[in-house]
C-alpha cells in the first residue's frame, strides 16, 4: 500500500469490516429473498409503467394530437421530460468518471448505483423523442444510412441530429463502463453461488472473470481511460442538448450561457436523484456502513454548489436580457417571472436556488430526513426549470393573436408517470440482482479508509510514541 491516510479523515467504511464482510454484505441482497416492502414498491412501479405503455400505445395508434400541444406550443411535456431524464442521467458518469480522475475515494460506495441510475434514466429520456416522432418504427431515419430515396441524407448541421449521436454515444459508453466494472463483482457472486442456476447466470454475466494480475492491470487502465473519455463526453451531452434550444432564434432560448448552465443543472438534478435513491436503498438492503452519512453530506455539498451555479445562471439570464436592449428578449424574461406562468418560474427559483442553500448548515446536510426532502424538492424544481424554458418561451410568440396556454392531457401525464414507473422497475430489479456496490473497489480502499484498519494503525502508532 502506497500511503495511509491521516487519522483526521473519517473512515469511508464503518462497522469494522474485513474483506470477507464486504463480500457477504454486498452479496446478501442478491442471495436473499425480496421482502414485502420491495414487492409493494415494485407492484406500484409496474402498474405505473403499464399505464405509461397504455398511453404510449394510444399516442402512437391515434397520433400526437392526443397530447396537449397546439399551434403555438409545439414542444411541451415531452421535451421537458426528455431533458429532465437526460439531466438526471448525468450524475452517474460524473461520480464514476470525474471523481475517479480527482481520486475521490468516496465515489466507490455510490458509483455502481449512480451509473445504473444513469443508464436507466437515459433509457427513459430516449423514449420521448422516439414517441414524439409519431411513427417510431421509422426512428432509424435519424441514422446516416444509404437509403432508397436517392441522395437523401440526415442533416449534420442540425443540433437535433447532434443529439442523436451524443445520447447514443453516452448511453453505450456508460453501459460498457458500468459492465466492465461489474465483471469482478459478478464473479464474486458466481463463486459464492450455491444453486447451479445462479452459478450459470452469474458465470455468463461475469464473462469468465478470473482476477489475474494482468487482468487487473488492464482493468484499471481501461477504467482510467474510460473515465478520461467519459468526462468530456458527459459535459458534451448536456451541452448538445442545450444546443437544441440555444441555436434557435426564439427569445428565451437563444442564449450563449446555455451549455454550462444546462450542465450544472444536470449535475444538480442527477445528484439529487442519487440521494433520493441511495437514502432509501442503504436502509432497505442494510448498507449503512458503506453509504454513510459522510457520503450523503458530500453529495449535499455538490447539490449546494451546483444549485448555486444554476442560480447565478438564472440571474445572468435576466441581466443579459435587460442589458441586451432587445425588447423581445426582455419581454420573454419579464413574462416568465410575472406572466401567467409566474407560478412555474417561482417554483423553479424556490426549489433550485433557495432550497439548496440550507445545506450550508452542517446539522441540515447531515440529516437523512432533510436530505431526502431536499432531493425531492430539487427533482421537482429541475422539472419546472425545463418546463419554464420550453413552454414560457413558446406560449407568447411574436404574434399576439396566437398567444395561448398549455394544458397537458391525461396522455401527457400518463406517459411521464409511465417513465417514472419504468425507471423504478429497472432500478428495483437491479437492486435485487446486481452487486449494488463496487465491492472489489471498496476492498481496495479498505486498508486505507476502513474503520477497523484505521483504528489498528492508530493503536500501533500510539505504541511507537
Amino acid at each position: 500500500m502506497a500511503h495511509y491516510e491521516a487519522s483526521i479523515r473519517r473512515p469511508l467504511v464503518t462497522g469494522d469490516k474485513t474483506y470477507s464482510d464486504v463480500t457477504r454484505d454486498i452479496a446478501r441482497p442478491v442471495e436473499g429473498v425480496a421482502n414485502k416492502q420491495w414487492w409493494i414498491v415494485f407492484t406500484i412501479a409496474l402498474i405505473a409503467f403499464l399505464y405509461g405503455i397504455g398511453c404510449i400505445t394510444y399516442t402512437i395508434s391515434t397520433g400526437i394530437g392526443v397530447w396537449g400541444l397546439n399551434k403555438t406550443i409545439g414542444w411541451a411535456w415531452d421535451i421537458t421530460n426528455f431533458v429532465w431524464w437526460v439531466g438526471i442521467g448525468h450524475a452517474g458518469t460524473l461520480i464514476s468518471a470525474v471523481l475517479l480522475l480527482f481520486r475521490q475515494k468516496w465515489r466507490m460506495a455510490i458509483n455502481r448505483s449512480a451509473e445504473a441510475m444513469t443508464i436507466f434514466s437515459v433509457i427513459q429520456a430516449g423514449l420521448f423523442p422516439i414517441i414524439h416522432m409519431g411513427r417510431p418504427w421509422l426512428a432509424y431515419w435519424v441514422l446516416p444510412i444509404p437509403n432508397q430515396f436517392g441522395s437523401l441524407w440526415v442533416n449534420f448541421n442540425s443540433p437535433l441530429l447532434w443529439d442523436v449521436f451524443a445520447i447514443s454515444t453516452y448511453l453505450s459508453v456508460s453501459l460498457v463502463f458500468w459492465w466492465t466494472g461489474l465483471l469482478p463483482d459478478f464473479a464474486m457472486i458466481r463463486d459464492r453461488a450455491i444453486t447451479p442456476f445462479n452459478k450459470k447466470i452469474y458465470g455468463i454475466l461475469s464473462f469468465g472473470w478470473s482476477g489475474r494480475a494482468k487482468d487487473w492491470q488492464r482493468f484499471e487502465e481501461v477504467s482510467l481511460v474510460l473515465a478520461g473519455l467519459a468526462t468530456p463526453l458527459v459535459l458534451s451531452v448536456h451541452t448538445i442538448v442545450s444546443f437544441d434550444f440555444a441555436t434557435a432564434v426564439i427569445p428565451g432560448w437563444h442564449t450563449t450561457i446555455f451549455p454550462p448552465y444546462f450542465v450544472a443543472g444536470a449535475v444538480f438534478s442527477g445528484f439529487a436523484m442519487v440521494n433520493t435513491l441511495l437514502i432509501i436503498m442503504r436502509k432497505v438492503v442494510s448498507l449503512e456502513n458503506y453509504i454513510t452519512i459522510q457520503h450523503i453530506e458530500l453529495m449535499n455539498i455538490v447539490i449546494m454548489i451546483t444549485g448555486s451555479i444554476v442560480g447565478v445562471a438564472y440571474i445572468t439570464e435576466l441581466f443579459v436580457a435587460w442589458y441586451s436592449g432587445v425588447e423581445y428578449e426582455q419581454y420573454a424574461f419579464l413574462n416568465r417571472a410575472t406572466g401567467p406562468y409566474w407560478w412555474a418560474y417561482w417554483s423553479m427559483m424556490t426549489c433550485n436556488v433557495l432550497s439548496p442553500q440550507f445545506m450550508w448548515f452542517k446539522k441540515l446536510r447531515t440529516s437523512i430526513m432533510f436530505s431526502f426532502f431536499i432531493s425531492i424538492v430539487v427533482n421537482i424544481g429541475m422539472w419546472f426549470e425545463r418546463f419554464v424554458i420550453i413552454v414560457t418561451s413558446l406560449h407568447r410568440d411574436f404574434l399576439p393573436s396566437s398567444w395561448t396556454m398549455f394544458s397537458p392531457t391525461f396522455v401527457d401525464i400518463g406517459i411521464f408517470i409511465g417513465t417514472i414507473g419504468f425507471f423504478f422497475v429497472l432500478f428495483l430489479l437491479y437492486a435485487r440482482t446486481f452487486p449494488v456496490i463496487a465491492q472489489a473497489e471498496v476492498k481496495s480502499i479498505l486498508k486505507v479508509s476502513g474503520s477497523m484498519y484505521k483504528k489498528l494503525r492508530e493503536e500501533k502508532e500510539a505504541k511507537h510514541e
Binding site: V176, I204, G208, R218, A230
Partner: protein, 178 residues
C-alpha cells in the same frame, strides 16, 4: 512432458502477498500467475509484468473515429448532396466544419471507448459463456492465490519457504499437460 507440477500458495492479506511475491522472485522461483479479489497496487510491478498498451490503443482508435466522422460528413454534406441550409452553402468541409465539431467529437469518443473495451475483452479473454479460470473460488472473496512453477524444485523446501512468507495454505497441483 507428461505432467506439470504447480504450487498454489494462498494468502489472506494483500501486503503479505506483495512482500511474498518479492521474496519468491528473489529465490528465483517462477511465478506463473497471481489471482486476487481486487487490484493490488504495485503487484504487477513486483511480478515484473510489462505495462499495458491499452491507452495507446485507445488513442489510435480515437484518431480512427475522428477520421471516420470527417470522411462521413464530408461525403454526405459536401460531396454527395450539398445543400444551402440557412444561407450557408456547403462548398468546402473546412468552412462548414464548426457545425460538424459535435459529431467529430462524439465519434472520436465512441470509437476510442468501444474499441478499447473490445480489445481489453479479447486480450484478457473475457466474453459471455467463457469459463472462469480462477483455481479457487475464494480468490474473488478474500484470498490471494500465487501459482508457482514447481518443476525441478524441492517441494518440501519450497513449501517451508512459502509458509515463511505468510502463506496460509499450500497445495501441490499436478496438471496434466495437453
Amino acid at each position: 512432458m507428461s505432467s506439470n507440477k504447480l504450487i498454489h500458495a494462498l494468502y489472506t492479506d494483500d501486503d503479505v502477498l506483495l512482500s511474498a511475491v518479492k521474496q519468491v522472485r528473489d529465490k528465483r522461483y517462477q511465478i506463473e500467475e497471481v489471482f486476487t479479489p481486487f487490484p493490488v497496487h504495485g503487484l504487477e510491478k513486483a511480478m515484473g509484468i510489462a505495462d499495458t498498451r491499452l491507452a495507446i490503443n485507445a488513442f489510435l482508435y480515437g484518431i480512427v473515429g475522428l477520421c471516420f466522422a470527417t470522411a462521413m460528413m464530408n461525403y454526405v454534406m459536401i460531396e454527395d448532396w450539398p445543400q444551402d441550409i440557412g444561407g450557408k452553402p456547403s462548398f468546402s468541409y473546412l468552412e462548414n466544419m464548426p457545425a460538424f465539431v459535435p459529431i467529430m467529437f462524439e465519434m472520436t469518443v465512441f470509437f476510442a471507448a468501444h474499441l478499447m473495451v473490445i480489445t481489453f475483452y479479447m486480450r484478457s479473454r473475457l466474453w459471455p459463456f467463457k469459463k472462469a479460470e480462477n483455481p479457487d473460488v475464494r480468490t474473488t472473496d478474500d484470498h490471494f492465490l500465487m501459482e508457482i512453477d514447481a518443476n525441478g524444485a524441492d517441494i518440501d523446501e519450497a513449501t517451508k519457504f512459502l509458509y515463511d512468507t505468510g502463506a496460509v495454505e499450500i497445495k501441490l497441483i499436478d496438471k496434466e499437460a495437453n
